[in-house]
């Protein structure tokens, strides 16, 4: 973990209630699956965000306006300075897959984009199934397509496959040896039940984001684990839903 003050360089809408923010500064090094905690001026707790993309001097996140804090974020003018806690949590284990399958629900696509990019840089194109509620909420497709073969699914069928990602996966009969998933808990639970050979990135309401408050602890077959510290990435086999 490292603390740094970052500057908002871009902050624009990319889909319904969905924004992409680019922050510049001393961001340190991030591995795919890791997250950052950003201060929201006027609010007490920091907000956790999965890393969409990062290099030495910038960091990008994609976020949805779900409450007052994220609504305020969407109004930050360029140049706003935010205190950030960086490189939090563990990351996806890329060594497990030769033929990776990435499955996202909603903005779970953001951290999986960073993973797909890293696989691509290592010479591997991923198979990607990206699910959204409906056509209005579809985001990041073009970015994902740079690094893999993307199948789009929407719950209401307004774009791509009609149905959730788990059903979509069934119909595709994809050839993969290991999967990586990020999305709503119901999706992760359904996936983990069907396929053991994968890693899932869990989401939880956090207090601190670095292991101090025990606010986000889940039960696993290996005991209690903090989503923010031992996670957010867990083996699909270990999480007790």
């Amino acid at each position: 973990m490292k603390e740094s003050v970052l500057t908002v360089e871009k902050n624009h809408k990319i889909a319904k209630d969905t924004y992409r923010m680019r922050l510049s500064g001393d961001v340190g090094v991030h591995a795919p699956g890791q997250f950052v905690e950003l201060t929201a001026p006027g609010f007490y707790l920091r907000r956790p965000f999965g890393v969409f993309d990062s290099s030495e001097d910038y960091l990008e996140i994609v976020y949805k306006v779900v409450g007052k804090g994220t609504a305020a974020m969407s109004d930050y003018p360029l140049g706003t300075e935010l205190s950030a806690l960086l490189s939090l949590g563990n990351s996806f284990d890329m060594s497990k897959a030769k033929k990776p399958l990435l499955i996202s629900g909603g903005l779970g696509a953001a951290p999986l984009h960073f993973l797909a990019k890293k696989f691509f840089e290592a010479g591997v194109r991923s198979t990607i199934v990206a699910g959204f509620r409906n056509n209005e909420e579809v985001a990041l497709l073009e970015e994902l397509q740079k690094f893999g073969e993307v199948t789009l699914a929407t719950d209401d069928g307004s774009a791509g496959f009609c149905g959730n990602t788990v059903c979509c996966l069934e119909s595709l009969k994809t050839d993969f040896d290991f999967y990586y998933a990020c999305g709503p808990q119901v999706m992760l639970a359904a996936l983990a039940k069907k396929h053991e050979n994968g890693e899932i990135s869990m989401e939880a309401r956090m207090g601190c984001g670095f292991g101090a408050c025990m606010g986000c602890t889940i039960k696993t077959t290996n005991g209690f684990k903090r989503v923010c510290k031992e996670g957010p990435v867990f083996s699909a086999k270990e999480v007790i839903f």
């Binding site: 603390e3 609010f43 007490y44 707790l45 309401r205 601190c208 101090a212 408050c213 606010g215």
Partner: protein, 303 residues
């Protein structure tokens, strides 16, 4: 050169700043962020006889000027704290620590606290009789003066370490409870624990926390803490450890002036892992501003 040292239960602490229980884990993980040897002491995560998972998620909610938590004393159990967590902490922290104890019965408290009787690096045990998040335990021991007194005298029979009793603000007269635990044999009191609170999600019309209510902490409770610490200091002879929404060196000085011999910093650690370090580093210049040479001279100055 400002003198930051304070005396607490026969130990000289290099400064009065102590991370509060439940906001600093078992301490050693913070050694990855800074040299935790600068801390006056460390109050460890609340510990019970047996391991506990705590309450269902979500167990954190945000509020204006603070947060609610309903963790419910997640911990690995007293024997694991003694045999696994304390040795890990000892490798990175040379000072003595405060073990925080929770329970459901007099026996629970006595049994869990006595596990640490022979632990060298334990300065004291802090009895949490004010946790709002454990059903049938904790809080109700702290809201009735007679029960609180009896609990402390029962625990004192089998516990050799000094006993600090952590008090709840969720009472009509905190001074009355403080006097009761003093008569029961408490060596010090610490206050305030969290204020009981609740948030409701208007989309679902249900409480945000899965457990319903939780404990409110953060800068919003600071003035409540100042008032209660001053009241308790005036009522008892044993030392008072102050806490409640401390976020700066000035806040710490204010609690000390109200009567605190040492200051615990809680929620601030959760929004800024470097909070205690920053407060300690800011103390000398804050003391300079108020012409304070020795911090121990300030204790109760506003009484």
């Amino acid at each position: 050169m400002k003198d930051l040292s304070v005396e607490l239960l026969g130990e000289i602490l290099k400064n009065p700043i102590i991370p509060a229980s439940g906001t600093f884990g078992f301490g050693y993980e913070f050694a990855d962020y800074y040299d935790i040897n600068i801390l006056g002491s460390i109050a460890l995560k609340g510990t019970t006889v047996e391991a506990r998972y705590g309450n269902p998620l979500p167990r954190i909610a945000e509020c204006p000027a603070g947060m609610l938590n309903s963790i419910g004393l997640q911990n690995p159990g007293a024997p694991a704290v003694l045999n696994e967590e304390l040795p890990k902490l000892k490798k990175v922290y040379r000072g003595k620590v405060i073990v925080n104890i929770g329970g459901h019965s007099f026996d629970d408290y006595a049994q869990a606290a006595s596990v640490f009787n022979d632990a060298e690096n334990v300065l004291a045990v802090e009895l949490n009789i004010s946790c709002p998040n454990v059903k049938g335990g904790g809080l109700h021991f702290g809201t009735d003066a007679l029960t609180a007194e009896r609990l402390v005298s029962a625990v004192k029979k089998s516990v050799y370490k000094p006993v600090i009793v952590k008090l709840t603000p969720n009472v009509t007269s905190v001074a009355e409870i403080a006097k009761a635990v003093e008569s029961g044999g408490a060596d010090a009191v610490s206050l305030i624990n969290t204020l009981l609170g609740m948030r409701i999600n208007l989309d679902t019309m249900k409480p945000v926390l899965a457990a319903g209510a939780g404990g409110y902490s953060g800068p919003g409770i600071f003035p409540v803490a100042v008032r209660m610490i001053r009241e308790v200091k005036a009522a008892v002879k044993i030392p008072v450890i102050g806490m409640g929404g401390v976020a700066s060196a000035e806040d710490a000085l204010e609690l000390i002036a109200a009567g605190a011999s040492a200051v615990m910093v809680g929620s601030a650690n959760l929004v800024d892992p470097f909070a205690c370090k920053k407060i300690i580093e800011a103390l000398p210049s804050a003391m300079e501003r108020y012409k304070i040479e020795k911090i121990s001279d300030l204790v109760g100055a506003a009484l």
